[in-house]
Amino acid sequence: MTTVAATAHPAPAHHDDRSFIRKYVFSTDHKIIGIQFLFVSLFFLLVGGLLAMQMRWQLGFPGKPMPGGGVLPETMAPGGVILPEYYIQLVTMHGTFMVFFAIMPLLVGVYANFLIPLKIGTHDMAFPRINMWSFWSFFAAGLVMLASLFVPDGAARAGWTMYAPLSARHDLSGASFGQEMWSVSIILVGLSSILGSLNYITTIINNRAPGMTWFRLPLSVWSLFITAILGLLALPVLSGAAIMLLFDQIIGTHFFDPAAGGQALLWQHLFWFFGHPEVYILILPAMGMVSDIIANGSRKPIFGYHSMVFAIVAIAFLGWIVWGHHMFMSGMNPTLGSSFMVSTLVIAVPSAVKTFNWMGTMWRGNLRFTVPMLNAVAFVAMFVIGGLSGIFMAATPVDMFIHDTYFIVAHLHYVLFGGSLFALFAAIPYWYPKMFGRLMHEGWGKVHFWLTFIFYNLVFFPMHILGMAGHMRRIYDPTQYAFLQPYQPMNEFISISAFLLFATQIIFFVNFWWSLKRGKPSGLNPWQDNGLEWTLPSPAPHGNWERVPTVYRGPYEFSSPQVPEDYLPQTRRLPSDREPAAASAARH
């Protein structure tokens, strides 16, 4: 790679004569693929939400007929009353849809695809066809998972973590085809991520525009790069484990069945060896995009750019040696528990560094509270709570009490909803103009933000208290336990808040649809940002640039004294700037 690989691509930005199918269905254009991921995973986000509402009904009002529950078949909710076997399907499928079909594709499928070529200045991904396959195998996986809800004995029932031998033996779980479909679907998801990751890594290494050195990359691209490396290493482990599980289920192997010589803990080690890097796959892109948005909204350079990059790398690296913190109570050697505790506590350090650097970025800024900025600041405020609650669980003696309780549920929602989803509520309106040429409605965006922020906290903060009472997770009916009966009003309160939280999301979805046709036309650069994507028309055309741009500086030159306005695009050439050597783009 001596010359800029990107220029090798023809860029027919002006004569686009592909058929409709090639353009919008089997597209190889990274932007269309990103948008396909966006629509499909927003749909799955809605599905995951609907499943959660049913769980919350049962927890708040155990045994009462659910409004509208009459439409469900007898095998799920006779007379609208949710059955225990349906409840555990809800638990399992909610987690599965949210992790694998909503948050992960929203962050990586959508934004790695959409942003990487635009932000590094190239025409498309390195392997556009592989990219297309990445989407379609994700789509197939989603269909299989969705269909599994409707097969005769129902969907998978062993939790999104699919602990064996419950998941491996149909006689123990009571589900059969649904369990197998889960395994198949996860194998496909793994394939999708592996194909995507290959592409993102190659593209970022090879196709950066002239002058786009490593340390001029936006943090969003850095985090997507590191995420792709995590994905490339972690997803094969998951797919491999899912293949073993499928073999246990259908061809009579016994990898995970101790009754026939297998090992129950083997599944947990494999799953969490994937699973912990996975949780960083679910947060790093969010952190990266939030960094871009906070710098833009503060009109200030990112505070400590280099340490932000090193923190991402450190988190990713440490993320590989902490998986045992999910297994402190599993019967794993307690001495191993000690070392996993220490590595887990250490991972809080780069997280803290990132938080302080975001605050440093806002310090003495000139803060513009656009909808993306509001959600990005909320991300920081909420992620902190999730990170701090992680410290309780990392301390093994405390985890002995709170493991598998609602404290964990609170933690994972503070990082995944408060963190990842708020970041998406920032990123979606922020890059919406570059996708669709229009802005989302600002006023409704603010209404959605505030209501979400309030109801979100009303739902998830009290779960810490439930966890501290010893309220187990994944239980169908807490009133079975005398010690939990006094907490029923709190469960009811959480449920009502959850219904309101769900209702609030309608605002978002309506705003999203409405703005596609009626939103205010955005122009090139509505947020006055420095990134390369903002030099393109909105929506960005096929092939992006006719000639790739040249980059003269990093992406965060806001309020620079060199220019009167408060932003300085990466492509703008000042008299003092020198032309980058063409080769430098590929090498540094």
């Binding site: 076997e85 555990i88 602990y163 031998p165 123990l172 101790p258 009754a259 129950a264 503060s298 200030k300 990112i302 505070f303 400590g304 750019y305 340490s307 109570m329 307690p334 000690s338 505790m341 220490v342 506590l345 250490v346 350090v349 803290a352 302080f356 605050m359 440093g360 806002m362 310090w363 800024g365 000139n366 803060l367 513009r368 509270f369 600041v377 920081v380 405020a381 902190v384 309780f392 301390a395 093994t396 003696p397 405390v398 002995m400 009490f401 493991h403 598998d404 501290m468 009472a469 187990m472 997770r473 994944r474 169908y476 807490p478 079975q480 709190m490 806001f558 309020s559 620079s560 408060d566």
Partner: protein, 223 residues
């Protein structure tokens, strides 16, 4: 309803709760620092016309400070936690004189086997009772956990004790109850559709009451 932790029913409870409190204080300070800082910045540095943000790329000194403080705190916390961990769950933590009880978990019940008058498991005077765990107060108890089918988790909130029961494994968990009374034992690991009702009563009794109960229960079990 409590807003804090439940009754301290074992010798571990004080240690676990103490650590919980310590972490609450440490994280509470960080929480207040960050949230108040954020609110303060949001108000103070909100956009005003004609102002330009302060142009800076960072400060090495500030970053060293806010890397070092969390790092030292976390390592210290790890060392302290590990001290308790080794005492509670460490390989050699079970006191040699602990009174043995075997619990066999299966979908969806707890089969509790008591050692009988000789105080030893695996002898002919052992007897088994479903979903009732009786323990003498003030005496270390070691529970031998096994599972018939899937993974379950032995969880007594007032004791602050949790330990998975894994098929194919033999796992010891110990505790020492401190407050006589009746409590609940629950399954904490999703084990199937009856997971939510896999519960048992825990009776913490004086040694005399416990002995009396043992005699009676052994008779009932053998008849």
């Amino acid at each position: 309803m409590h807003w804090w932790l439940p009754l301290k029913g074992s010798t571990f409870a004080g240690e676990v709760d103490g650590l919980f409190l310590a972490i609450t204080i440490i994280t509470g300070i960080a929480f207040v620092l960050v949230e108040v800082g954020l609110i303060w910045f949001v108000v103070k540095y909100r956009q005003r016309p004609g102002r330009k943000a302060f142009y800076t790329h960072g400060s090495t000194r500030a970053e060293v400070i806010w890397t070092a403080i969390p790092a030292v705190t976390m390592v210290a916390l790890g060392l302290i936690s590990n001290h308790y961990w080794v005492r509670i769950k460490g390989r050699n933590s079970v006191p040699p004189n602990a009174y043995p009880i075997a619990i066999h978990a299966k979908q969806f019940e707890w089969q509790v086997t008591y050692p009988g008058p000789d105080g030893k498991l695996g002898t002919s005077d052992d007897f088994t009772v479903r979903n009732q765990l009786h323990v003498p107060v003030g005496r270390p108890i070691v529970v031998r956990l096994t599972s018939e089918d899937v993974i379950h988790s032995f969880f007594v909130p007032v004791f602050r004790v949790k330990q998975d029961a894994v098929p194919g494994m033999d796992i010891n968990a110990w505790f020492q109850a401190t407050v006589p009374g009746t409590y609940e034992l629950g399954c904490a690991e999703l084990c199937g559709l009856g997971h939510y009702r896999m519960r048992a009563q825990v009776f913490v009794q004086s040694q005399e009451d416990y002995d009396a109960w043992t005699k009676q229960a052994a008779q009932e079990a053998s008849s």
